[in-house]
Symmetry: C2
Subunit: 307 residues, 2 copies
């Protein structure tokens, strides 16, 4: 009999990401009232994916959830960037993952991003030739400290269940990863971020990734449910649009997934579905001192402890 | 007596870019009815600049014209990217230039970009250690063939006055430079683009660059004057916003000047003042067959000869 534990990791992770995509999309559709459009696509070099986008909905300006299962041969350049192959000696790879970004209309409701992924170089049988990565982070335009605490506490609870060192490490890695050097500020309030997770116990790592992915809805839905109907004015909306501009800057200039996708000639609409529907760049904008907008910037410039 | 011909090239180029900035800003203000804001800034490593921005004007959504005169020591990485130093053996550099981008409100009026620059490595006295670069290119949301012909003919006339091979070479280099690989289309209709121009006769090159810079107003003003008052509807505006998104993608992912500025910790507001005030990303948008929008895409996918 094949039990979950005896299935190859590729299949277990594929089942996880497809299941999580379904669960999350159902919950988002129930809140928004509109449906996701689905596109299944194939990658010329091997594999493919299932992209779902809900655009200009009732609650969400743009919500995208993509899963992919891709394999093939890496270019030498992509292999060097990807790591994990020094022990393997061939350029074949396998990768599966889920990636999502939700941008609500209401400036009081935060954008959220999550990504969980599993890689193998070669057949993944050698030490160091397979690894997990992932994380989830929150990007508000206006700071509600309760939201930040709820979000971070959700992931602290998951982390602590698996390893007491995880939350502190992965929270710090998240703050590092989403820092925008040319703006000297973070993209958002962080969360957790991890990469290159491998070791003696793949089952334990899979369980951790699985728990993180399943924590997504309870970490985010209570926040967006509470904020998406709050009143706002055109000034709030304009500030949100400026923050969306920063989101675009991070994704196009620094995000590893986006850069990897552009370099490896991935399906462009799936790579860039993380971009907001609308964004704005004003010359030399800075918020009034003591304003709510300035209060957010303070936190983006000096990340805080939330859990 | 010091005549123009005996002045050092640094001073001649500085006088040119400042003079051209003044002339162009006066003409744009006369058309728009609003004034540029001016910011003079200093670069911690040496030198500085004068940025002028007109935002949310009557004709222009955003118009930025910057000049800079910067010098100092390059990092080894920046020096390798910059070139021109193999013969010099030190990391000191000098650069001056003018850069402008104008985004009109009206979707029928094209965006335009121009940039003229002069570099030296060391004291610029050795062969290959100084060079000129520059160009000017047009990015419409809707194709008016008369505009494309007028714009290209303007630069063909300037080029032909200096060297019969210039226009064909620099037109082709422009099409290459502004190609967006991940979209498989050009940013716009091109124009001319040149870099690393050096040789036996610096005076002749300076004259060429000076003529190009002075051709800017007659190449662009008749176009924007004719188009900025044309009627348009929300569909036209939305298409313009999607094209603005492509402009952002090119500038953040590929533009050498932007990447150089981000890497060398330049003044961020001056580097990014080329970005439009607003932009839009729709998932998997494609225009209706035979539409005006599709007609533009055809030209962006297969650059044409215009002069």
């Amino acid at each position: 009999m094949t039990t979950l534990e005896t299935m190859p990791m590729r299949q277990r992770m594929e089942a996880l990401v497809h299941g999580v995509q379904d669960t999350i999309c159902q919950a988002i559709e129930a809140l928004d009232g509109q449906s996701f459009r689905e596109d299944c696509w194939q990658r010329p070099g091997g594999g493919g994916g299932r992209s779902r986008v809900l655009q200009d909905g009732n609650v969400f300006e743009k919500a995208g959830v993509g899963v992919s299962v891709v394999m093939g041969e890496l270019s030498a350049e992509a292999a060097a960037q990807m790591g994990g192959g020094r022990e393997v000696g061939d350029l074949s790879f396998y990768a599966t993952g889920i990636s999502l970004v939700f941008h609500p209309h209401n400036p009081m409701a935060p954008t959220v991003h999550a990504n969980y992924r599993y890689f193998e170089r070669g057949d993944g049988s050698q030490p160091g030739s397979w690894w997990f990565g992932g994380g989830c982070d929150l990007t508000p335009s206006y700071l509600f400290e309760d939201d930040a605490r709820h979000f971070h506490q959700s992931y602290r609870t998951v982390c602590d269940r698996h390893d007491p060192s995880y939350y502190a490490r992965f929270k710090a890695q998240c703050d590092d990863y989403f820092y925008i050097p040319h703006r000297k500020e973070s993209r958002g309030l962080g969360g957790i971020f991890f990469d290159n997770q491998h070791g003696e116990d793949p089952d334990a790592l899979f369980d951790f990734v699985s728990d993180c992915a399943q924590a997504f809805l309870p970490s985010y839905m209570p926040i967006v449910e509470q904020r998406h109907g709050l009143p706002f004015n055109p000034t709030h909306k304009e500030w949100q649009q400026l923050r969306r501009g920063r989101y675009v800057e991070f994704n196009l200039v620094y995000d590893r997934g986006t850069k990897f996708g552009l370099r490896t000639d991935g399906r462009i609409e799936s790579i860039l579905m993380s971009l907001p529907l609308t964004a704005r760049w004003e010359y030399d904008h800075s918020p009034a001192p003591e304003s709510e907008e300035a209060r957010l910037l303070d936190v983006l410039r000096t990340p805080r402890s939330w859990a």
